[in-house]
Amino acid sequence: MKLKMIKGINKNTIVSLLSIILGLLAGAVLMLITGSNPIDGYTYLFRGGFMNIERFGNTLATATPLIFTGLSVAFAFKTGLFNIGAAGQMLFGGFCATAVGLSLTWPKPLLLMAMVLSAILGGALWALIPGLLKARFNVHEVVSTIMMNWISYWVVYYAVPAYLKGSFLETESRRLPHSASLRVDWLTNLFNGSYINLGIFLAIAAALIIAFILNRTVLGYELKAVGFNRHAAEYAGINVNKSIILSMMIAGALAGLGGAALYTGNAFNIQIGVLPSQGFDGIAVSLLASNSPIGVLGAAIFFGLLYSGRGFMNAMTKIPPEIADTIIATIIYFAATNVLIEGFVDRIRRKKRGV
């Protein structure tokens, strides 16, 4: 029985690895078409992400918000919900954390806790509304979370210049003081000046906690049951509406944490007029990870590598940045289409058996 389980895990892993390889191959074709050497390109891409400790730190830091949004989407998926609103939840969670960080002058540990908590609450609040709408009126969460994205966008657009404005920059908030930043000196020094920050530890902890909740707890059992089969859950006496709302809130809280990691860890302030792309990349991360929380860690770091290595590839080759973006997008696209790859793997297996 053990053997079989390992085999089952392997299949997802194979599919994900194949997806990545296919993506890299597709990217290689693009590089060839634009007259660059793919081997050089990928060499520089990977070196850009890993060649020294600072870059390794940056790769992890780039991956941090993606871990959170990936977890957010994966958790929602597992409980039968499609959270497209991670971007908005993230933005609002990040806004809350920034607001707390700029408003309070507590000692750093206390302040960071307050900021993280407010990011959790902010993200959860932003997802609560689609959750309520779904539970109460059966409004599809895809629609309502997308709309919440824009509400978040405009709330932040208004609130940052109105309340957190710097001395003259209109497009971003005041800069967070060091005591309100997730960056800590020992980590920065350890990684030789990288902008890696405490967010990565929060992200790893979140992945472990989410995996634990989903697989080991009564709560996870209920939420997944509702996700897989709402009717059966109702039949068994599980409070379906409560579960939907709770799932959305947990997903939102995760995305909100991603906002804290992005705006108060990777950056020093929050910007207006931008929906963080990490919110949408979270969907791809989750797909590549087959919605497994631990898989999300790996997938997010892979994406982080692509994003952080891309610039070096760019600088070292004559691949124009736009093509580099296309290559990265292609890799992500292939990586995220594991459903197709899965069918392909199944077919190969069948063929082999048929012979």
């Binding site: 079989k4 080991r216 009564v218 089969n229 009717h231 006496g237 409070n239």
Partner: protein
């Protein structure tokens, strides 16, 4: 003798299970061959192989004498093989014509030549007596008509060999007899049919020969005319099967379930159940007889808490449970075998063990402080599987979806009975099951009765109601027509009452009630 289909020494293995083990099946031109077997015996796998959905591990297939490779359903279509699935694959807001031509639309320049298609469908319909209106929309026609559309789809694609997968499972008795006529018409026009079923009565009615498989192995092929139902049942199950359930006479005890004038809205927001009153006592089985959609669903959902009662009260062992949530009703000793095992009964993507604690996961020993205790869950599930003979590929960790229908149902029945409920609501507990499983489940229900538990049985099969019930309550159009003692009535009388006719007998029946 010339065979149109020869499947020779077919073997097919799935993880943990040999679905087909050296099975040989031959179909003659112009005959109806029944393929009989219990749920999970391997019928669907075998036919899936013939239709190109699965590839056999070994063995060969010949069509009209020449060996073929059927790699996908399209290849099967090209060979003149068509399949009518149990679950129809139709687009509901398309017309019948549009559904039939889907995928092979006749083109006139850039547009679809609907008229030509519609004309041809009309001709085919007349030739085979299908009585189909090509311009009607699927959503407006009956289930029986939808099935005929599926048949027409095959005929339109010039299928010579038709595979019909449990075609009667979804039909009313009238529709079943119509289907039988259609099938006879088809073979008289030269088509050949393989009928997958586990209903012996139907085999007797239409089939020429019958191939029986059991647990993936071929048992034999018999001539239907000269073989009795009992003999076929024994071939299928592997032992003698009794169609009659033995149950001892016993006095009913205290009232367990009491319904007082309950009224319930149906999903279209009109009263689906009106002023309904009924009592179910300890140690008795009360059957609810009625034509589908006459308030049974509303009744069951109101008792179990899935639906709100607009008026009236519901008592469980004297306690008013009208306002209680579902979970508390379960904790007060109510169990429910739901009508639709896929919709309500199981979380198909959960493992069997996870499904076995669907109502109990938050109780000790299955969880403590919010954490699941997987070891206890597994041993509990394995116990249920043993007690109720649930077979699966990978034991307790099999995904529920991978189980055959019969085993899924046995698992649900096991889960509900293992809670030792005071009141069991059993809705269509044997729907779609083979005789072996039916017999088994019936036995367990009667056993429950003998232990002094109350059972409310809802079934569309009158024979099941009569086999099990002590008393029968008849519903029609959301109202209680009457309650009769099972041994003082006949199927005929109950059948009439199901149509809503209240006759003299009804008065007698009620008098009997009062004497009790």
């Amino acid at each position: 003798m010339e065979y149109v289909v020869e499947m020779l020494n077919i073997r097919k293995e799935f993880p943990g299970i040999v679905a087909n083990d050296d099975i040989t099946l031959n179909l003659k031109k112009g005959e109806i061959l029944a393929l009989l077997g219990e749920n999970g015996a391997g019928k669907s796998t075998l036919m899936g192989i013939l239709f190109g959905m699965n590839q056999p591990d070994s063995g060969s297939i010949r069509i009209n004498g020449s060996e073929v490779q059927i790699s996908n359903p399209n290849a099967a279509n090209d060979l003149g093989i068509g399949m009518v699935h149990q679950h129809f694959k139709l687009v509901h807001n398309f017309t019948i014509t549009e559904n039939i031509i889907l995928g092979i639309e006749p083109k006139a320049w850039l547009t679809i030549d609907i008229k030509a298609a519609s004309k041809r469908i009309r001709e085919l319909s007349e030739l085979y007596g299908l009585n189909v209106d090509p311009d009607a929309k699927i959503e407006d026609v009956s289930v029986g008509m939808q099935q005929r559309v599926e048949i027409l789809k095959m005929l339109y694609r010039n299928a010579e060999i038709l595979i019909m997968d449990e075609p009667t499972a979804v039909l009313t008795p009238q529709e079943i007899s119509e289907l039988a006529n259609i099938m006879k018409r088809l073979v008289s026009e030269g088509k050949s049919i393989i009928l997958i079923t586990h209903k012996l009565k139907e085999i007797k009615a239409v089939a020429d020969r019958c191939t029986v498989i059991r647990r993936g192995k071929l048992i034999g092929t018999v001539d239907v005319a000269t073989t009795s139902q009992e003999e076929m049942a024994e071939m299928m199950v592997g032992r003698q099967v009794s169609f009659k359930v033995d149950k001892e006479q016993q006095e009913a005890g205290e009232v367990v379930l009491k319904l007082e004038d309950i009224s319930v809205l149906n999903s279209r927001k009109v009263m689906g159940l009106k002023n309904f009153s009924l009592e179910v006592r300890a140690g008795e089985i009360v059957g609810i007889a009625g034509v589908e959609g006459n308030g049974q669903t509303e009744l069951v959902e109101a008792i179990t808490g899935l639906r709100k009662a607009e008026a009236g009260r519901i008592f469980l062992k004297g306690k008013d449970i009208t306002e209680l949530p579902i979970r508390s009703r379960i904790r007060h000793g109510m169990a429910h075998i739901p009508e639709d095992r896929h919709k309500r009964g199981l979380v198909l993507d959960y493992t069997l063990e996870e499904n076995m604690v669907l109502e109990l996961y938050d109780c000790p020993p299955f969880s403590k402080n919010g954490l699941l205790n997987k070891a206890d869950i597994r041993s509990y599930a394995e116990e249920i599987m043993k007690h109720f003979d649930v077979r699966s590929g990978q034991g307790a960790i099999s995904v529920a979806r991978s189980l055959s229908g019969g085993n899924q149902q046995k698992a649900i029945v096991g889960r509900e009975l293992e809670q030792n409920p005071e009141l069991l609501i059993a809705v269509q507990p044997t729907r779609g099951l083979d005789v072996g499983s039916i017999e088994y489940i019936h036995k367990r229900l009667v056993e429950q009765r003998s232990k002094g538990k109350a059972i409310l049985l809802v079934s569309l099969e009158l024979s099941e109601i009569f086999n099990l019930s002590d008393r029968i309550a008849i519903v029609s159009n959301g109202e209680l027509v009457g309650v009769v003692d099972a041994d003082k009535t006949s199927e005929n009388e109950v059948g009439l009452m199901m149509t809503g006719i209240k006759r003299g007998e009804r008065l007698e029946a009620q008098n009997d009630q009062r004497h009790k």
